[in-house]
């Protein structure tokens, strides 16, 4: 019975580059943000997120730390987000991925399938690095005992 992780692939590389694909893009240089609209798809290593609208915030170019090259600091997806990672899936109305803290915060009718179990609640805080998830608000869980015995 394989190493079933709490959520997402265990070997997720949270430092891998984030690739974003969308129908259209608006860039706002001054605020360092970009808004992708229409079938937006965000991929980072084994984690994949889709949503109708995603607002990406880029990291400030910091002259004093030239070695950190330009990158995404925060991804904020709205309008119904689905997220899959290593066979587990989660969905919610909005999702905020803070890349540095490795946390994805899903909120609004969150539904999370983890292995054989299905959880639903108001909010889920998923840590992609250590594969944990914390759900809050009257959480309903359906645990399907596998054919273990």
């Amino acid at each position: 019975q394989g190493m079933q992780t709490a959520f997402g692939a265990s070997d997720q590389n949270t430092d891998a580059p984030i690739e974003v694909v969308a129908d259209s893009l608006e860039v706002n240089d001054t605020a360092n943000t970009a808004v992708f609209v229409g079938n937006v798809e965000i991929v980072q290593d084994k984690m994949r997120m889709t949503a109708p609208r995603v607002e990406v915030t880029y990291r400030e170019d910091d002259a004093s730390t030239p070695e950190i090259e330009e990158g995404i600091a925060k991804v904020y997806a709205t309008g119904g987000v689905t997220m899959t990672s290593g066979g587990d899936a989660a969905e919610g109305e909005t999702a905020e991925y803070n890349v540095d803290s490795d946390y994805v915060l899903l909120s609004g009718n969150v539904l999370l399938t983890q292995g054989r179990n299905v959880l639903s609640g108001n909010e889920a805080k998923i840590n992609l690095a250590d594969n944990t998830a914390q759900m809050t608000g009257r959480v309903r869980t359906i645990i399907n005992p596998g054919s273990k015995k």
Binding site: L119, R138, V139, T141, I143, P145
Partner: protein, 689 residues
């Protein structure tokens, strides 16, 4: 059924759920988990999916569909909640029997093992006061399959005082209806049998029969009592018997058997039988099995519909009275009867056709005293009512009965006597109604009947009609003799007046008077029957009380000087806290009715719940002629949700040559919550907060 729910998903609801990498799911905050019929409530549940265990904390409550509830402080259970350990556990069976234990282990769906246990069905208050009774045990195993509770090192404590110790004990749990085993023992002490203990043992036999064996051992007697019951598809039988070796009759074993049964046969036939026999005349009385002084064993086949009634049967009598001998008493009686009711269209009214065949035999061959009787009779009559004039109910009745009498061992009647008796009557009834001032309803009903019959038979001895009664049940019947060996004769008028008032407040009162006026005297009627002479005594009947409450019913005969000749009265009252039933009887001396002294007697039976858990009962029979109590009894019951204590004491003062007066005291203590001593959902104690 277990397998089906085993794979059922577990539904979990909680304020927070935390998923940890190693398949750990931690639910906390008002957690409720459901699987199939099992339901678990706790503060925190940690579900480890690799080892499939639940670690549970905080005021746990586990219900598993049957009426079993488990409470605990913490627990480690398998994910199907069937296996594991609960700490600070309380197991409650049928919401009645509570087992509090330091630790409880569930193994498979079957066993629940508790250690350092206190078992009680009493309401336990948190004020630290001990329950009325509890059983403390080192270990208790509840087998949910055989539904037995096994105790190890069991100690019964009453108000925390150790009373009784048993290394091993087995008791059926409350869900068991028919478990093999000991029922509640009864301590019995009587002046004739000494002090003893009756320990009934119940043995179910299949699904439809059971046997209860109750040995009764005391200084004076070694007795075994048996009760066998069996239910069939269309009937049931019950046999009660006992055998004794006692000091009252050293030389011989004593016994009795009472069996009865009834069966519903096709085509509306019913078969009933009862057998009553005993070894000696005072055995039933000595052991208080029955107060019957004449035993009758009978087999009876009957069929009854709206328009017909059929009966065929035989009875065997055995007298236990010291004043009677069996061979001069009719011991074997056979009877066949049939009656058909018809409604002839042409002439209207109702026609009745009847047949009656009867035979009774006395073993003795001596003349008169050993008389045997065979009689056959058939009867046909027709009656019709008309409403005439201003609300008069006029009824005409005419008919005849014909048959024959044949006697053996009786020289007064050489050979068979045939007879034909025509009879007729005309009855006028005029019911009047009125609505009283306060909305009450009145009914006044005068009735006058002219009756005639012609009975020429004079030589048939009165063998079965020695006791003639006179009441509103036969004021207007054509022959008040109970058996056809005598029939009323000649012209007579039966008059009656009845008045009844129903109050709007539910009060009820009834008064009726009746009298028989004859053209010629009939000296076959005894003095105390009230029917002797040209004018009978006045029949006086009254009923006073509440329609749904206490009711006094009384009947008496007043002679012309308005002197009472006979009085019978009964008071019945059922109220929410108990019942009262009293009777009074006064009969004058009358040798024609074999009553050589006056009879005057009060009886009183009452039970009353005088306090929340206490019910008292009293029984009293007082003989006013000899001015002594013939029987008195007291009963006291304490019953709450977990114990029933019955204390009874009674004394019988009557005696005969081999029957002495006796006092009997009985005590039973039954702990409710085990199927042997079930509490009837009695009043539950409440905690004094």
């Amino acid at each position: 059924q277990a397998t089906q729910t085993e794979d059922a998903p577990v539904y979990l609801i909680a304020d927070q759920v935390f998923l940890d990498g190693e398949d750990l799911l931690v639910a906390s905050g008002h957690v409720e988990a459901r699987q199939g019929e099992r339901r678990l409530i706790a503060e925190k549940i940690t579900y480890d999916q690799t080892s499939d265990t639940l670690t549970i904390e905080g005021s746990i409550r586990l219900e598993d569909g049957s009426n079993t509830v488990v409470l605990a402080d913490s627990a480690e259970l398998s994910d199907d909640m069937r296996e594991g350990i609960l700490r600070g556990a309380r197991l409650i069976l049928e919401y009645q029997l509570q087992m509090a234990a330091v630790e409880m282990q569930r193994t498979g769906a079957r066993y629940q093992q508790l250690s350092k246990v206190a078992v009680t069905s009493c309401h336990v208050c948190d004020d630290g006061k001990p329950p009325l009774w509890q059983i403390r045990a080192r270990r208790v195993i509840h087998d949910q399959e055989t539904r037995n509770i096994y105790f190890e090192g069991a100690q019964l404590r009453v108000l925390d005082v150790p009373v009784f110790y048993l290394p091993k004990m087995r008791l059926p749990d409350p869900t068991v209806k028919r478990a093999r085993g000991f029922l509640i023992p009864e301590i019995v002490s009587s002046s004739t049998l000494g002090t003893g203990i009756r320990t009934p043992y119940f043995l179910p036999i299949g699904d439809h029969a059971d046997l209860t064996v109750s040995p009764l051992l005391s200084a004076e007697t070694k007795t075994v009592e048996l009760r066998y019951r069996q239910a069939f598809y269309n009937g049931d039988i019950e046999i009660n018997a006992a055998g004794s070796q006692d000091t009252l009759r050293q030389d011989v074993g004593r016994s009795y058997v009472f069996a009865d049964g009834k069966f519903q046969l096709p085509e509306k036939f019913r078969l009933q039988f009862d057998i009553e026999t005993t070894s000696d005349s005072t055995y039933l009385q000595d052991y208080d099995y029955s107060s019957k002084d004449r035993l009758d064993s009978a087999l009876l086949l009957t069929r009854d519909t709206r328009t017909s009634s059929f009966g065929l049967g035989g009875t065997f009598f055995e007298t236990l009275r010291s004043s009677e001998e069996n061979d001069t008493q009719a011991s074997r009686v056979g009877e066949a009867r049939y009656e058909l009711r018809m409604t002839p269209q042409a002439i209207g009214g109702e026609a009745r056709l009847g047949f009656l065949m009867h035979e009774h035999v006395r073993d003795s061959r001596t003349d008169i005293v050993g008389r045997d009787v065979q009689r056959v009779a058939s009867s046909f009559d027709w009656r019709r009512s008309w409403i005439v004039g201003n609300g008069f109910d006029f009824q005409l009745l005419g008919g005849a009965t014909t048959g024959y009498f044949d006697l053996d061992d009786d020289s007064t009647l050489r050979e068979r006597t045939d007879y034909t008796i025509p009879y007729a009557s005309a009855t006028l009834r005029w019911p009047l109604e009125a609505v009283g001032a306060q909305g009450g309803t009145h009914l006044l009903e005068p009735v006058i009947q002219l009756a005639w019959s012609k009975d020429d038979t004079t030589d048939i001895p009165n063998d079965e009609s020695t006791d003639v009664e006179f009441d509103s049940g036969n004021l207007f019947s054509l022959s008040r003799f109970p058996a056809p060996d005598q029939t009323e004769d000649g012209l007579r008028a039966n008059i009656g007046l009845g008045w009844t008032r129903w109050g709007a407040d539910g009060s009820y009162s009834h008064l009726s008077l009746g009298r028989v006026i004859r053209a010629e005297k009939d000296n076959r009627f005894s003095g105390s029957s009230g029917l002797a002479g040209l004018e009978s005594d006045w029949l006086f009947e009254t009923q006073i009380g509440q329609v749904e409450g206490p009711m006094l019913t009384a009947r008496s005969l007043l002679d012309d000087h308005l002197r009472l000749a006979k009085v019978e009265a009964q008071l019945g009252w059922e109220f929410n806290r108990g019942t009262l039933d009293a009777t009074y009887l006064w009969l004058d001396k009358d040798t024609q009715e074999d009553r050589d002294s006056e009879v005057s007697e009060w009886t009183l039976g009452a039970n009353y719940q005088f306090a929340e858990f206490w019910t008292g009962a009293v029984e009293w029979r007082y003989d006013l002629v000899d001015d002594y109590t013939s029987k008195a009894g007291l009963g006291l019951r304490y019953e709450n949700e977990c114990v029933k204590v019955d204390l009874s004491a009674s004394r019988r003062f009557t005696s005969s040559d081999n029957l002495d007066p006796s006092t009997t005291v009985g005590l039973t203590v039954s702990l409710s919550g085990f199927s042997a001593g079930r509490s009837s959902g009695a009043v539950r104690q409440t905690c004094k907060t």
